[in-house]
Amino acid sequence: MSATPVLALRGVSKRFGAVQALTDVELEVHAGEVVALVGDNGAGKSTLVKTIAGVHPIDEGAIEWEGKPVQINKPNDAQNLGIATVYQDLALCDNIDVVGNLFLGREIKRRGILDEVEMERRARELLTTLSIRIPSVRIPIASLSGGQRQTVAIARSMLGEPQLVILDEPTAALGVEQTAQVLDLIERLRERGHAVILISHNMADVKAVADKVAVLRLGRNNGVFEVKTTSQEEIISAITGATENAVTRRAARTNGEVSK
């Protein structure tokens, strides 16, 4: 694992009118590392994702990419750096077909004209290797189920070899089998040296694939834990903000070991 993180957030703050969504948030992700970002509803996870993806520019703080400070003011900035994002609200166009959505904003062209044949061929190839099964790649997204849309959104992020993949609750709408596939996918991304930020409420998923867990609470950092050496209870108490003292910590730790 390299010493310089691929992405580092330094004291990032973001405000929406009266809501202080993020305050002084720090986060580091290295190549070949899966960082789980956890926190209660409204903790600011999706907002953090959107600041990295260029949807909401940050108010204060700095973003470093491979050790160098960068400005991410619009989605293109993030894409050009090599950041791919699967948003919680998916961000697909219902009226456009699967192929069109996969390549939206980065269409393949032949002499200035959309190369539908090549896009469809690659879309099929990609979906096949991801074991994603949808009725047809030429039907509008509107006719897919929630889980199918989710897999299309994930497939979309895999196009174009991103260095950092951010997944905002990617398994929330998925069945057991598809969840397993997404987790496999995340592991494979790590093996190939990509950095991954995974947001999930499912502690089992987090423990299964993540290396580190960063906890957000009310828009602030509330600890970064090594998955291997931390119990589920410790993470949960950091999420809920249970008072931190030696006794509760010890209790949590022993319980955690018992339950294993």
Partner: protein, 431 residues
């Protein structure tokens, strides 16, 4: 930039996943696969599925056109005469051009109420340049269409950059450009155009050689067949489902019947009208832009989900401004055809039911008011319906008030169809 990345590394992304399991999964045919991918029988099946799911497309309007022909022909046998049909197809070009611009705006899910006034303003500008200033007519035409595009872009600026609702901005535009036109026309209020000039000839010139109409029909059919056939071949070569030859042949045959019937009809009268040729050229071009270019894809994307488009890196502001510029451009082009028809620019240009007819035509043709669904060919079908009704009622000497009421009924019917379609699609899970 990311395009290059994908094209350099076509094999990379797929390698991410577990290919053996996938290959095993794919060899078995997925029972949910749409019949579409199984030849001509599948095509029929998909057609039925579309009907059930409420994807009616242009079907209602084509049925409507046939009904109009049957009704008016039974009332007066002059309706389907070559002369009447030829006149209908020339008259409809002015409103039809404006309607093409409206289709673009509707695809965004927005509306442009200024197109009537802009068309009037453009024709006034052209007339003043050509007649009062004595410029060559081609220069006057250029000034008019450029002005239309700039006016549209200005509306787009207020909407896209300043965030004012398009409805309100273009309502202001409706008033402003009407005032502008009256100002430009000055005291007389009417400027007569030289009917032998370029603008005059737009609606009066015919390619009277019989070969012209048949030749155009033949070229259109041949090009259609060649592109469909070669497209299917390329898809086959790439190993992805393609249209069966039988389907391509059927579509080509249908097009050939329509094209040669129209050519025959034109040749029974004065020949192929220049106006028709220009209108068809614009329709083919805009349809191509919307469905085959990245620009068109962006317009559809905005109509489907603005936020998703923005996150995909699409410059939402630029696309919005450009679409309103296109609308202004087509309003101006339509204005020139309307001026040509009456060989003058006058104070009533762009007023009356023109705006409503242009919007109605787009909607009647099958463009959704809710954005993201439609084709520029819809403008042709819709305007055909409206102008045919007008001519049919005129043959019956039915007065203006009734014409308005009947057109209103047609519009209401199509809007209801559009809304029901959307509802059906929602219940069929395809809203």
């Amino acid at each position: 930039m990311s395009i290059d990345k994908t094209s350099e590394t076509p094999k990379d992304a797929p390698a991410v996943a577990n290919s053996e399991a996938a290959a095993a999964a794919v060899t078995a045919v997925d029972p949910r696969l749409l019949v579409r991918e199984q030849g001509l029988a599948g095509y029929v099946g998909e057609f039925k599925r579309k009907m059930r799911a409420g994807e009616l497309g242009s079907l209602p309007v084509i049925v409507g056109l046939i009904a109009i022909c049957v009704i008016f022909q039974s009332l007066n046998s002059a309706f389907l005469s070559a002369q009447n049909l030829s006149n209908i197809t020339i008259t409809m070009v002015g409103t039809g051009m404006i309607s093409v611009g409206i289709v673009f705006v509707l695809l965004l899910g927005e509306i442009d109420l200024s197109v009537g006034s802009v068309s009037g303003a453009a024709s006034a500008l052209a007339a003043v340049s050509a007649v009062n200033q004595g410029w060559p007519e081609w220069a006057a035409v250029l000034v008019a269409v450029a002005a239309g595009a700039v006016i549209g872009a200005a509306h787009g600026f207020f909407f896209a950059v300043l965030g004012a609702p398009a409805f309100a901005v273009t309502l202001a535009g409706l008033l402003f450009w009407l005032g502008f036109m009256l100002q430009v026309l000055g005291a007389n209020g009417t400027i007569n155009l030289n009917s032998d000039g370029l603008i005059g000839q737009l609606t009066t010139y015919f390619f009277s050689d019989v070969a012209a109409a048949y030749g155009l029909a033949a070229v259109v059919v041949a090009v259609f067949f060649a592109t469909s056939f070669l497209g299917s071949r390329r898809r086959e070569a790439a190993g992805i489902p393609s249209r069966p030859l039988s389907e391509t042949a059927l579509r080509t045959a249908l097009l050939a019947v329509v094209a040669f019937a129209a050519a025959y009809m034109y040749n029974q009268y004065k020949g192929l009208p220049l106006a028709t040729v220009i209108f068809l050229a614009f329709l083919v071009f805009t349809d191509f832009v919307l469905r085959r270019t990245a620009y068109g894809r962006k317009v559809f994307a905005l109509g489907g989900n603005v936020e998703a488009s923005r996150r995909a890196g699409i410059n939402v502001t630029a696309i919005r401004i450009s679409v309103f510029a296109i609308s202004g451009f087509f309003a101006a082009v339509g204005g020139l055809f309307l001026a040509s028809k009456i060989a003058s620019a006058n104070q009533s240009a762009g007023t009356g039911d023109l705006l409503m007819n242009a919007i109605a035509a787009a909607v009647i043709g099958g463009t959704s008011l809710f954005g993201g669904r439609g084709r520029t060919w819809n403008a042709l079908l819709g305007v055909m319906v409206i102008v045919s009704i007008q001519y049919g009622l005129q043959l019956e000497s039915i007065a203006e008030p009734v014409k308005y009421m009947i057109t209103a009924g047609v519009l209401l019917t199509t809007v209801v169809i559009d809304s029901i379609t959307r509802k059906t699609q929602k219940t069929a899970g395809r809203a």
